[in-house]
């Protein structure tokens, strides 16, 4: 199966899980019904005893007939026990169903989580929250604070607004929105410069926070797990 996107993956996973649930419930329902139907009822023993009595012409003495009757009665008593067994088995089946369903659901959740984790690991940084504070010139990304210049904050805010509207800005449009002129009067290069400054400032801080840490009065260290480093 070729999976071309994350949402499609989630869809197929959900489909598989849903199918699995239906199959589990179906199988257990059928088995339960079969169980309830096929367990012998009280009469089964009587019918057998009656057959024995009819088929053997020699079984006519009083003692033998009494014995046969006792046999039928004990069978009937046993079938009462069977009825209670049936209830016990049925309750156990219900519990088994619930457990299987829960297990499958958890398995599905685990699969989804694994996929998401793999994606997060490969994409480097996954932004789950972004907070822009214009008063303090602060950008808070996933609880990491980055101090920016007022000009960079302005650029960042404009980009964020455009993103919320689903727009893509050219350099000239960016410059126009920040300066407040019309797009025709603005230079493409001016916008590009703003972007470059924002990248430099934010990128620098982000790399220092995520990759190259500065430990005060001791020096610098790579913030990476030892085991993942390989030299070619």
């Amino acid at each position: 199966m070729k999976i071309s996107s994350a949402t499609e993956t989630r869809k197929t996973t959900r489909l598989i899980i849903f199918g699995g649930l239906v199959v589990i419930i179906g199988i257990l329902t059928v088995t339960g019904a079969w169980l309830l139907w096929t367990l012998p009822d009280a009469n089964a023993f009587n019918v057998r005893v009656e057959q024995i009595f009819v088929r053997n012409d020699a079984l006519t003495s009083q003692n033998e007939i009494n014995l046969l009757e006792i046999l039928a009665q004990s069978g009937t008593a046993f079938s009462d026990t069977l009825a209670s067994y049936r209830m016990v088995i049925f309750v156990l089946m219900l519990m088994a169903t619930a457990l299987l369903v829960a297990a499958l659901a958890f398995l599905g959740m685990l699969l989804l989580l694994n996929r998401r984790m793999a994606k997060i690991e490969s994409s480097g940084i996954q932004v789950s929250s972004l907070l822009i504070s214009r008063d303090e010139n602060l950008v808070i990304l996933n609880n990491m604070e980055f101090q920016l210049t007022p000009a960079a904050i302005e650029t960042f805010s404009v980009l964020a607004e455009a993103r919320m509207d689903g727009d893509v800005l050219s350099g000239a449009e960016l410059e126009a929105m920040i300066v407040g002129k019309s797009t025709a009067d603005c230079d493409e290069a001016a916008g590009a410069t703003r972007i470059k400054r924002l990248r430099d400032s934010l990128g620098n801080q982000m790399v220092s926070a995520l990759l190259i840490k500065n430990i005060a009065r001791r020096g610098y260290v790579l913030a990476i797990d030892k085991d993942v480093i390989e030299m070619i």
Binding site: N46, V49, E50, F53, V54, T60, S61, I65, Q73, T76
Partner: protein, 92 residues
Amino acid sequence: MRYIIIISATFLATAVQAFCFVDYKAKQDDPLKLHYGVMELTDQQCSFEEAQKVVTQRLLLQGWTLLNLLSVSASNPTPQQKANAGENFLRY
């Protein structure tokens, strides 16, 4: 001469009033009860099919279901049959 008349008279009487005997098996349900018994039938009822009908009828009146007929015979029941039938010997 009188003796002969009496003997022939009794002979005639038994010849006219011929009997046959069937032994059968029957049951009652809930709880299961079984019984073996011997019944006396009149001459007209001595074919197997007829006997089956009559026995079924008679037993049904007493709340029993006929399972099967073992034999229909004109001769008297053996002591063994009589002992096995016990209280059901000629009861119904």
